[in-house]
Structure formats: structure tokens, C-alpha cells
Amino acid sequence: MVTKRIIPCLDVKDGRVVKGVNFKGLSDVSSPVELAKYYSSCGADELVFYDITASAEGRKLFTDILTQTAAQVFIPLTVGGGINSTADFERVLACGADKVSVNSGAIKNPNLIYEAAKLYGSQCVVLSADIKRVGEQWQVFAKGGRENTGMEAIEWIKRCTDLGAGEIVVNSIDTDGVKDGFDLPLLSAVCDAVTIPVIASGGAGCIEDFITLFQTLPKVDAGLAASIFHFGEVAISDLKTTMQQAGIPARI
């Protein structure tokens, strides 16, 4: 049986992990390479590197650290941030990324998903959607959640799936940072609408939140989080053990 995946996400700016991290035994806590190696050794099933740099120099540093990481960490690597063209796909895939996530770039040009899936295969194209409840609707936000596109979220996700997206990361703006659990109603609606793997993001505060996620919504394939892993609030090894004890398939 395929295990439920646990995915730490690293925000990288100018070649460094941005959010403060606090781990004993790591010589350089803001080195993406060191952190990636650490997570891989703890049982992370996959890693997401999110490039939040705006400058060309920062982008160069990002591809450098991505190359170094891919040379030393042998689990799937997904890269997101600043992906607007198939040339951007090419740039990060050449550095050793396995999957590329698109967000604002796909909102600007949905055909990017089709073009990339045709060139690299659907397994390579991950749709990342920032979603917030507005009145009675879930709507898609662009530019890191700052701009409401007015698009209904489930329709958008279905459209991207039809264009060739191979996985979907559902980021709930409503639960992000609240640490009171994943957005189960939103995730449930997405799971009902698509047949591609669904990765839940936003809201995890403790181990129990992951257990609730996978037990309530067995169709969710993976849970993604950042700060709770970086700050050591949730140790991935403990999380995996608890999942296994709860009867949730986990790779240990």
C-alpha cells in the first residue's frame, strides 16, 4: 500500500532558509542543503523548496543550492516560486528537481500547465493553489495570497487537472498559520472533484492534526508543513510513529 507522505517545505531567499529554524546538531540551521539532509535522515518523504527571491542574483543562488541538495539528498524534490514559463521548468529540472509547482504563473497563463505536462509529463507538474473562503465560495488567490483572482477554486483545480497537472497542493489561506488543523471542508471538496493526488497544506499545529487529516479524509495523499517542522514542534519521526500506531500507512 502507498504510504501517506509527509513533506516539509523550505522557503529559500538568497540561498538561505528564511524562517528561523531551531535544531540541535545542525551546524548551519539556515543552510537549505544541511536542512534537507537532516529532514531526509528523519524520514521526510519528499521536500519542497520554495524560491521567494526576487532578484536575478538570488535566483542564481537558489539554483546553486538546489544543485547541491539534489547531489546529496535522494528523495523527491519539488521546486516552486517564480515558475512562469517552460524555460523556468527547464532551469530547475536541470538542477535536479523532480517536480515543479506552479501557482501565479499558471493563473497568468493556464496553458503553461499543458505545455509543461506535454514536455515533461504530468508527474512533473504540480498545481499549487492558495485558496480562501469568500462569502459562500472558495476563491483562488494569486501573488502569495495577496490578490483575489475571483475564480472559484474547485473549477480552477478541475481545469488545471484537465490541462495536465499531476498533483495538487491545496493551501488554505484561512487555516494557514492558525495551527488549529487543516482545512477539512475545503480538502474534502477538492478530493471529491479530482482523481490526482491531493497534498494538504496550511493549518497543521501538532501531530494530531495530521492524524485527523488522514483519518477524516482517506483520499488525501500527503501533508505539507513548514514552521512546525523547522521549529521542532513536530518531529517527523514521532509523527510517522504515531501515524503507524493509528493505522495510517507511513514509511518508517
Binding site: 504510504t3 528523495i75 495523499d221
Partner: protein
């Protein structure tokens, strides 16, 4: 020296890095002389079967691989590279493979329950059907490896050495004489994957 066959499909960076990580010398190459001179050959592959098989034939690499396989050189196919070792694939029509192994490649949707997603993506455990396969020298039954595929090898029970359960026992690894293959990605399967590559490096291929 290990030759990782470059025929224009897939990203070979991680594969090359994996061999570097276990201290094995590997080159990514499409040159026939280099491949022929290598101690062992890796046939990688991501993407569509028809396109990959066509590229192998048109470049003359298909004929070379067949010749090297017959001479007893250890050859490992990975993911689509493993599927290419078989006689034919039914991925969007019928297409001829290298025919180094008996069997064919069909959609996993044919054998898995309708409520399971395609592709079979993620970490799954290995069930050994031949535990003494040399590739398993350093790993255990139940170890997890990383899969991404929508098609699987079938009618190849005689050469299947491991399966993975996904609503049905899907062919995960095969071996016959000096020719072997993994449906999963050892270069993305953490320590377990590196141990399989290490076993391949140490294997003489004459089992």
C-alpha cells in the same frame, strides 16, 4: 565504470549523483564506444514508451544494448527503462520493446480497483518473490521505495523478483541472468535505493 545511457529522455542528474554518493564511477553518455566499454549499463527513462523505443532504435543503441545483454554485461533498466526491456508495450497502441525479457507492459488501471488513483505515485513496500536476487543483498523485504508510473510489466512472473501491492501485486523489480530492472526509482528511494544501486555495482551479472 558504469554507463548511464543518455538517449534524450529524462533527467539523469540524480542518477549520476546517486552513484557518486556510493563511490561508484558513472558517466552519462550516448556514445556507443563508451557504453560498450563500460562494466555495467543503466538504461534510464521517463516519459512515453513509443518515443523512447523509437529513440533507442534510431540511434542504434537498441541494437548495441541487445548485443551487450547477450554478451553477459550487467544491464539495469529503471522505470520506463525497465519497461523497455520487455517485448512490447500497450501504452497508446502496441509498440515493440527491446525484448530482452519475456512479457509486456500494460496500464495499471487494468488490474487495480477503480477507487485507486493512477499513476501509482509515492512510497510503497517491496514484497520479494525471489529473495535471493543479488539486487537485494543489502535491503529487506518490506523496505520502501519510490514509484511513479501508470503502466506495469505483466506476463513476466518467471523473472519477477519483487512486487508492490497497490490493489494488485504490481511488478516492482525483475531479473534474468545479467539483465535486471526496477519499476521504482532507486535514485529517489533514499538509503534503500542507494543500497540497491550498490548491490548492482558489486554484481557480476552471472547469477
Amino acid at each position: 565504470m558504469i554507463a548511464i545511457v543518455d538517449y534524450g529522455v529524462g533527467n539523469l542528474f540524480s542518477l549520476k549523483s546517486s552513484f557518486a554518493a556510493i563511490g561508484a564511477e558513472a558517466v552519462v553518455t550516448g556514445e556507443k564506444e563508451v557504453i560498450a566499454a563500460a562494466d555495467k549499463v543503466i538504461l534510464p527513462g521517463v516519459g512515453a514508451f513509443e518515443d523512447a523505443a523509437k529513440k533507442l532504435r534510431e540511434s542504434g543503441l537498441a541494437a548495441l544494448l541487445t548485443e551487450l545483454a547477450q554478451k553477459g554485461k550487467p544491464i539495469m533498466g529503471i522505470c520506463l527503462g525497465m519497461q523497455l526491456l520487455f517485448e512490447e508495450s500497450f501504452e497508446f497502441g502496441a509498440h515493440r520493446g527491446l525484448g530482452l525479457l519475456k512479457g509486456s507492459v500494460k496500464p495499471i488501471a487494468d488490474v487495480i480497483p477503480a477507487d485507486l488513483k493512477t499513476p501509482h505515485i509515492g512510497w510503497n513496500a517491496l514484497t520479494f518473490t525471489k529473495a535471493d536476487c543479488p539486487l537485494f543483498a543489502y535491503i529487506h523485504e518490506g523496505d520502501y521505495v519510490y514509484f511513479v508510473h501508470s503502466y506495469y510489466a505483466c506476463d513476466c512472473q518467471a523473472d519477477t523478483v519483487a512486487t508492490a501491492e497497490y490493489g494488485a501485486p504490481l511488478t516492482a523489480a525483475v531479473q534474468k541472468g545479467n539483465v535486471c530492472g526496477c519499476q521504482f526509482h532507486p535514485e529517489k528511494s533514499g538509503e534503500v535505493g542507494l543500497k540497491i544501486l550498490r548491490a548492482f555495482c558489486e554484481w557480476e551479472g552471472n547469477v
